[in-house]
């Protein structure tokens, strides 16, 4: 009876977790960051950052990240301090007014700067993109049902529309996108970038790398979180054992 009760409770809890897990129908991919021990593949993160920098960031902002977030292997994508400084210095940021207030100035970016957005505001972004607003990519993976699998499916989902499918003006056909009409033109193709580490830049490779990078951008704390979680759960399991033995001992004389 007690075992049956436990089984029912476990089933109820499982059912609770199942309800919101009903994702859009996208194929699940193998990712290095899946599972309770998953980590980001640093080489893939850095290639993904290259794809982001050369392709995505032309239209998409990533305004909640700082350049300093890229530094190191503990929470970053594995760039050195000098590399981060160089990345930051390659952009120009708004420097406010000059000392006598007569002129707006710009300066080179610093690691302490937020990622620079490609457009001044949403209106400018829409105006440059056929009326569509490229979403900010800071939390894009968390903001889509299916997460990384969905992002990968969209990036690799561009095909010629089926016969009779009428595309809107300036729209593109995408098998994974809701309604199959997406304003974003196909961003990645074979050889879209030339990887600095010599990896062959196929569409699949680029999509995987940039999805890994975007997942990191959405969840930079993930590795620390899972590492801590393993420790916390192990500790709690041990503690439960000890506490249960204490309880048994306290209750030993009760009938």
């Amino acid at each position: 009876m007690r075992a049956a009760r436990l089984a029912i409770m476990a089933a109820l809890f499982g059912a609770l977790l199942q309800v919101p897990a009903a994702h859009a129908d996208v194929a699940s991919q193998h990712w290095s960051f899946n599972g309770p021990f998953g980590t980001y593949d640093r080489a893939s993160l850095q290639r993904g950052f290259q794809v982001y920098k050369e392709v995505c960031s032309v239209c998409h902002s990533m305004k909640y990240l700082y350049y300093r977030n890229l530094e190191g292997n503990d929470g970053g994508i594995g760039l050195s301090e000098a590399q981060v400084k160089a990345v930051a210095a390659s952009v120009t940021v708004d420097g406010g007014l000059n000392d006598d207030g007569s002129k707006e100035i710009t300066r080179d970016g610093l690691p302490s700067d937020h990622f620079v957005s490609p457009f001044a505001n949403d209106v400018a972004a829409r105006s440059a993109n056929n009326g569509a607003l490229p979403p900010d990519q800071s939390s894009l993976v968390n903001a889509r049902d299916g997460g990384p699998d969905y992002i990968y499916a969209v990036l690799t989902g561009y095909t010629t529309p089926p016969k009779g499918f009428v595309l809107g003006d300036g729209m593109n056909y995408n098998a994974a996108f809701s309604g199959n009409q997406i304003a974003m033109p196909q961003p990645l193709t074979d050889g879209q970038v030339t990887y600095t580490d010599g990896t062959k830049a196929t569409l699949d490779q680029e999509a995987r790398d940039v999805t890994t990078f975007l997942t990191w951008a959405s969840n930079p704390e993930m590795e620390q979180r899972k590492r801590m979680g393993v420790h916390v759960v192990l500790f709690l399991v041990l503690l439960t054992g000890v506490v249960y033995i204490v309880k048994r001992k306290v209750w030993a004389d009760v009938h």
Partner: protein, 416 residues
Amino acid sequence: MTGLYKSTYKNPLINWFDSRLPILSMMDKEYGSFPTPKNFNYFWNFGALATVNLAIMIITGVFLAMNYDPNADNAFASVQHIMRDVNYGWLLRYAHSNGASMFFIVVYIHMFRGLYYGSYKAPRELLWQLGVVILLLMMATAFMGYVLPWGQMSFWGAKVITNLFSAIPIVGNAVVTWLWGGFSVGAPTLNRFFSLHHLLPFVLTGVVFLHIVALHITGSNNPLGIEVKGPADTLPFHPYYTSKDSVGICVYLIVFAILVFFAPNSLGHADNYIPANPLSTPADIVPEWYFLPFYAILRSVPNKLLGVIMMFGSIAVLFAIPWLDTSKVRSARFRPLYRPFVALALPASLFLLGDVGAHSPSGIWIPLGRIGTAYYFFHFLVLMPFLGWIEKPLPLPESISSPVIKPSAVYQAETV
């Protein structure tokens, strides 16, 4: 009646303190030597778990509030700031958001325990009703808390739920404008929700205190549902139930930790990572999972006002069950007719309604929602009074410590 309390602590300093302010004696009376039925099963952990959960929510919430900005232009960004830049901010926020889910899981099981073992019956009617007040406060607090990240689901959830009040005849629209602080959900709505979300947990703590005071007046119910007859039926709360509750707390923390560290967004909606946009309605506006059964009841009625009445009625009916249940026997163990209805049919109808609430109301989900809603009200309004009259309960044991009926009979009753 004035004068110093007659404290008996050996340490003179503690005795001096306690004879002037006997909170130590009170704690010892209520949580140390407090006579507690000796036959609790692990279902009796969930009251303690709810208290622990409330403490976790308040502590994480206070620290989140130090870093959160309740300004409609900055709220979304400030949550990102908490997640990315505040030391362990992600832990605070994930513990708080999943803590809300854990709170409802714990409280729903706690309520099921009360329903199954008849803990709402005399003399514990007021104790039960205070519990329902706590549930209402929790719902209000959770709803307003979900609005604070100011994502798409925050915004549109707030819009849908506050709009329910527009169903009130004549004054409905004025009430909604008053709740919003404007003519749509906007900056004033966010500010007042933040204020109330910070206030209500402390009101809730006060009602929890009353709930515990009432519990310590009537004493706890127990799995047999019979009153304590004498000292042989009880154990001091400490160390017996402190040790047993500790086991439950550890298991609860494991479940909580797995959610927070390995699946922190599994119970939330992806749409809430998109900033609130009054001009773009999400494809599906879905409340958090713990509201889904009530949302399903709301949508199972084709008339808006009637739907709102049914939804609030589904909670209101809980206030009346101490009198709707006509059976003199508390524990469903000894109620062979009622038992399958409370143990299986009622939870099944709520799970069905939860599933219905997560789907857009079309096709098969409409009749399923109506079946679930009909059963929910049928259970409380018809089955409870009716079965109490016609049912012949099984023989009750003489006392907790000396059951007259043979243990095998109890066992059979358990496995019906």
